[in-house]
Subunit: 131 residues, 6 copies
C-alpha cells in the first residue's frame, strides 16, 4: 500500500501549476464516505439528539465533498480533458447534485450514489494522469 | 485501483462512533504533498509575487494538514492503540512540528520529512485496521 | 433602487428547494470586483508589504468568488437550463478558470475578464428567473 | 439591469483603501433573504429532519449576514458618515441583533424585520456613495 | 490564578441567552497580542519570506480579533449598557478600525493602540458583569 | 485584573517563534465554557428547536476548543516540556477526547470534565512560563 501512498506525488509533476498541482479524487471520496457513515449511523440509532448530530455533521462533510469535486473540475481538468471526455461536465454536475441529494436524505443509498459518481470521476482522473 | 478506492469504507465500520467513523491518513498526506508542491514551485520560480502566492498557499495547506493529523490522534487512535504503539504520541507530535517547520521553510526537504512521518502514522493506522 | 433591492426575494420562490432557494450572481460579481480592486491597488502602490497584502486579500476574495460561481452551477442551474443554454457548462468552467487566472496575475485585465464572464452567467440567470 | 450590475465598481473608487474598497449591502441582504427562505420553508414542511436542516442552514446564513453587516460598519463607514447619520451606530447594532433574533426564531417576520433594517443601511450607504 | 481561571463561568449565568452566554474580551485581546507579536517579529527579521509569513498570519489574527470584538458589541452589550456607557458604540468602532490599521502597518505601536482600546472595552465589560 | 490582562504579552517573548508566540489556554477554556453553557441551556429548555440550536452551537464551540488545545500541544509545548511533564501527551489526548465526549452528550458533567482537564493543562502551561 505504501507504493500507492506515494504514487500521486510522483505523477502530478507534469500537470502542475501553482497553487501546487496536487489533486486527488480521494479527498472528495473520503468526505462522501463520511456522508454515508452519517446516514448509516442515523439509521442505526433512534435517539433524537444523536440524529440531529448526524445531520449537522453530514451537512458539513457534504459541503467539503462538494468543494473538492468543484476544485477538480475548475482547477485540474482542462480543455483537452473535456474534449476527450465530453461527458465530464455533466458527470461532475451530476456528482455535485448527488451530494446535495444526500444532504437532504438519510437513506444511505443516496450517499452511495454519490460514491459511484465520484468513482467515475476518479477513473477518468487517473486515466488522464497516465495519458 | 478501484478496489483500493472503496476499501476504507468497508474496513472502518468496526471502529466507528459518530461523527462518522471514516478516517484516512491520506487526507493529511495529500495536503502535505501540496506543501511540498508549493516548496518545489517556489524553488523553480524567482518571481517575487509568484513566491508570495506559494507562501500563502503553503500556509493554508499546512494548516489543513495539521488539522487532519490532530483529528487522527484525538478521534481515531484510542487507549489500546497507545498501549500497542507507545511511540505514537511522540510520532504524532513530531509530525505536527515537522509540518510547522515546513511552513517556515521553502526547502522541499522539510515537507518531505513531514511526508515520511505521516507515512509512519499511515503504517500504524492500517495495522490497527487489520488487527 | 429599492425595488431592485427586494426583487430577488419575490422571484426566487418558484425555484426554491432547501437550503433556501436564494441565489444571486451578484455575490460572485461583488467578490470579483474585489479581486479587480486588489489588482488596481497593487498597480498603484509599489510598497512591497502593501503588495503582499493585496495578494493575500485577492487570493481570499477569488476563492470566495469561485465558491459562489460553483454553487450557482451545482445548486441553482438544473437540467432544463442546461438544455436551453448548452454553452452553460463551458461558460461556468471558463469563469472559474478566469478567476483562477486573476489569482495568478496582478493585471486588472484578468479580473475584468472574469467580470465579463460572470455578467454572461448573470444574464442567463435572470432570463431563467423570468422564463 | 446590466448597467446596475457594473455600477458599484465605478462608484467605489473614491472610498477605497486596501483591502479593496468594494462594499455592497447586497451581500448582507442576500444572506438575510436566505434566512427568511429557511424560515418560510421550515413553516411549510413538518418533517423533523427537514426542519433540523433548515435550522442548521439558517444559523450559517445568519452568521455570514452578521459578518457582512459588521464589515460595513467597521470598514466602510467612517467618521464623516457617523456625523451625518448619528443614528447609524444604533441602526447597525439593531440590525445585528435582529439577525440574531431571526436565528432564534422560525417566524419569517423576524427575518423580514432584519431585511427592513438592512434596507435602511443600504439607503444610507448609497447616499454616501453619491455625496 | 485558578480562581480567576474559572470566574467567568460563574458570573455569566445571569446574562445568558442561547448561543451560550459566555463572553470574554480576553478572546479579542489574545488575538490582538498575536498581531503585535507578528509586528515585533517582522521588525526583528529582515528575511523577505519571513516577513511575508508575518503579514499572512497578522492578517488572519487581526480578522479573528475583529470578529470577537464585533460579537461583544452585537451579542453581549445591550440597550442598558449603551445607555450607561454612551461612548461604547464609538469605542467599539474605534477598536475595530485600530485593528484594521494594525493590519496595514508593521509598526507595533499600531497593534498596541488596539490593545489599549480593547482594554477599555474589557474594563466596561467587567463592570457590567458586576453591576 | 488589568495587570493580569496584559501579563501574557510580557511573558511570552522568550518562547516565541513565528507565527507570533502568543499562546494562552484561556482560548480553549472559554470555548469549553461555551460548551457547558450550551449543555446547561439545553437542560433548561424543552423546546425542540431550541435544543437543536444548542446542539449546533455546541458542536461548533467544541470544534474550536479542540483546535486551541491541539495548537498548544503541537506549537507551544516542546521537548523539554514533555520531559519535565511526562503525563502531558496523555493529558492533552484525554482533554481532546473529553471535549469530543461533550459533543456527544447534553450532560453538563461532560463539559465540566473537559474544563477540569484544560485547567490541568493551564497549570502546566503557566509553570513553564515561569520556569
Amino acid at each position: 500500500m505504501l507504493s500507492r501512498f506515494f504514487a500521486p506525488k510522483v505523477k502530478v509533476s507534469a500537470h502542475c501549476d501553482l497553487p501546487c498541482g496536487v489533486y486527488d479524487p480521494a479527498q472528495a471520496r473520503i468526505e462522501i464516505e463520511s456522508v454515508v457513515g452519517c446516514q448509516e449511523k442515523y439509521q442505526a440509532n433512534t435517539d433524537a439528539d444523536f440524529r440531529t448530530r448526524a445531520l449537522i455533521i453530514k451537512e458539513q462533510r457534504a459541503e467539503v465533498a462538494k468543494h473538492h469535486v468543484s476544485v477538480l473540475w475548475s482547477d485540474y481538468f482542462k480543455a483537452p480533458h473535456f474534449e476527450k471526455y465530453p461527458q465530464l461536465h455533466q458527470l461532475v454536475n451530476d456528482t455535485l447534485k448527488a451530494i446535495s441529494a444526500a444532504k437532504a436524505s438519510n437513506d444511505p443509498a443516496t450517499g452511495k450514489k454519490a460514491l459511484e459518481l465520484i468513482a467515475e470521476i476518479d477513473k477518468i482522473f487517473w486515466e488522464t494522469k497516465q495519458g
